[in-house]
């Protein structure tokens, strides 16, 4: 479903991604781990189409099509969803309004009729249960005054409503207490399925006890330095990122291919 080839990207004049190769097949969940500043969020933003990140080399194919050539909204309509590490507060725009506009933009793109108010409400009510979302939050302005946990829950809730095919979760676990983490992970797990792929970006192994990945990749200094099964996450937890960074210090670190 997703194929990233030799991706290099700059942000703020600095090269952050220095040749990423990654392939994710439909139905798979991939975890990307790495220390702060390794380029995890930059990768997420490149996939979602952030214009402040400049791709200097490489390509990204989504279902065989050039993802990098699509505007952010086209990617969303084609089924790419980014759960933000820092969801943006938008005073004056209600959560419900945004969600309805988003759902209908996707449906219109797919050639499906737009939902009316009743159909939309029914969908929302059903998906709310996935993340135990408080209905009061729906009528509030997007993320305004939400706690950290509420914001992350709102991201997963949006994901559930929009029904994407490729989900990119950018540190959705950061800043969550264990209860919130369980709820968010439960929501994500409920959305796992044979027709959907997920890239779960995280700093901590903890999340991966709840969302068990098919593959784990370790990103350091803009490159994937090692990849493996779910046990790789445990090894990292045990030894820390210093272990990886020690490995990449030498010139011999080859980019892992999956």
């Amino acid at each position: 479903m997703l194929e990233i080839r030799n991706l290099r990207a700059k942000a703020g004049g600095r090269e952050i991604l220095k040749g990423i190769d990654l392939a994710v097949r439909t139905g798979e969940v991939h975890a990307i781990m790495g220390p702060n500043g390794s380029g995890k969020s930059t990768l997420a933003h490149v996939l979602a189409g952030r214009e402040t990140v400049e791709v200097t080399q490489g390509e990204v194919l989504y279902d065989g099509r050039n993802l990098l050539g699509m505007a952010p909204e086209m990617r969303a309509r084609e089924g790419v969803f980014l759960a933000f590490q820092y969801p943006v507060e938008i005073p004056g725009v209600s959560n419900m309004y945004l969600l309805k506009a988003a759902v209908n933009a996707v449906r219109k793109h797919r050639g499906e009729p737009e939902y009316d108010a009743m159909e939309f409400l029914a969908l929302v009510k059903e998906r709310m249960k996935l993340v135990e979302m408080d209905q009061a939050l729906l009528n509030r302005a997007v993320n305004e005054g939400f706690s950290g946990g509420e914001k992350k829950r709102n991201e997963v809730f949006q994901m559930a409503v929009l029904d994407p095919r490729l989900c990119v979760l950018d540190e959705t676990d950061s800043g969550l207490d264990i209860d919130a983490l369980r709820i968010v992970a439960g929501g994500v797990n409920a959305l796992r399925g044979p027709r959907r792929a997920m890239i779960v970006i995280t700093h901590y192994q903890r999340l991966l006890s709840y969302i068990v990945p098919d593959r784990v990749h370790v990103l350091a200094q803009g490159r994937i330095v090692t990849s493996g099964g779910k046990e790789l996450a445990l090894r990292l937890e045990e030894k820390g990122y210093a272990w990886i960074e020690g490995q990449t210090a030498g010139p011999a670190a080859p980019a892992a291919r999956v």
């Binding site: 189409g49 909204e73 938008i90 005073p91 209600s94 309004y97 949006q158």
Partner: protein, 449 residues
Amino acid sequence: MSTETSRAGRDRWIDACARARATAPAGTAWMDGLRAGAAARFADVGFPTTRDEAWRYTSLSAVENGRFDPHPAPRPEALTPDLFQQLTFEPWDCNHLVFLNGRYAPDLSRAARLPAGVRLTSLAEAVVAVPDLVEPHLGRLADARGRTVTDLNTALMSDGLFLHVPRGAVVQEPIHALFVSMANGSPAMSHPRNLVVLEEGAQAAVVESYAGIDGGAYLTNTVTEIAAGDNAVVDHVRLVRETAAAVHLSHLEARLGRSAGVSSHIVTLGGGLVRHDVDAVLDGEGAECTLNGLYVLEGAQHVDNHTLIDHARPNGTSRELYKGVLDGRSRGIFDGTIIVRPDAQKSDARQINRNLLLSEDALADSKPTLMIRADDVKCSHAATIGQIEENALFYLRSRGLSEEMARSLLVQAFVSDILGRIRIGPVRAGLECLLFTRLPRHHAPRETA
């Protein structure tokens, strides 16, 4: 502009004042005195110039040297039923007084279902019919400011809304004064004058709106005086949708008695050169004043908002929120002063001006001034000038909204708190409709689902 043309310009205006006196209806000596005094003050000083601090951003030379027809015949047929419905916020069914090129149009107006003792007429009628209700107020508030543009209005005033609400009376339905300008050959001018008097404990809501229905050039120079007696409550909205070639000058003067509440929203969408002077005097203890404004500009529009809130007595509260959305080469100015007089202890004043620039060439000026003469007060002000946040735009687009729709939604969000504070429902809804069809396509106002 040479001094000579300027003098010739001023002389033409002085002549116009003299003609207005000569042709004014006879029988009201006090009115003639009012006009004569104002004309004399104008003749002395003339128009303000950009050398005056209060006018440094806005030049009136085009007005001074312009030639405007003082008695332009309206063409009522230009006001089609469709337009009329739009301008009166149909299906809103409220009392309205309609003025075409400054002249009262009784056929288009309606003043019914009013509580006993409430007077709603045109000002010209009131001057003749109930001079004892008009004389104590007309010009008493606004003319003392040393504003020669206001003096010009007083000298040339044509007609306008007169509302008198006696003690304790409550007018439930809002009242709409609609001023429609239309060209008829040469550029027209009108000098509407509105007087709203609420006695002790009275309540009313007044909407004034100004619109041009063809692309023509004209001048509107309007003055509204609001006298809110002790404990009276006034809700006021002014909506300006003049044409891009029009000059709109306005002065709103409100005096608040003890524990009176006045809330005013001034919304400027249209007009080439617009200047609002708003003065509110909290002249009784515990008065509460809200002055909000919204200016949504495009093209080469120039809108200068000048406000003065005068806390003259203790325990007063004022809230002021002005927001500008500036596109194209437009310029929006906010110059707001809050005065707290020495004995106005425990005053609580908050002033905020926020601007959203939608284009590189738009310009916003924000000039807040606090003049605090008392020592036990709570006063704050804030001003921001910003652009659409890249973060928010990306967030919305990443959810599938087109860039255009995302921008439009963010602009709507920016203005929504001001609109939300307008308590007159049909006007609020009409404004949302107007704004969101004009802002970059895709509208659909907020919804609560």
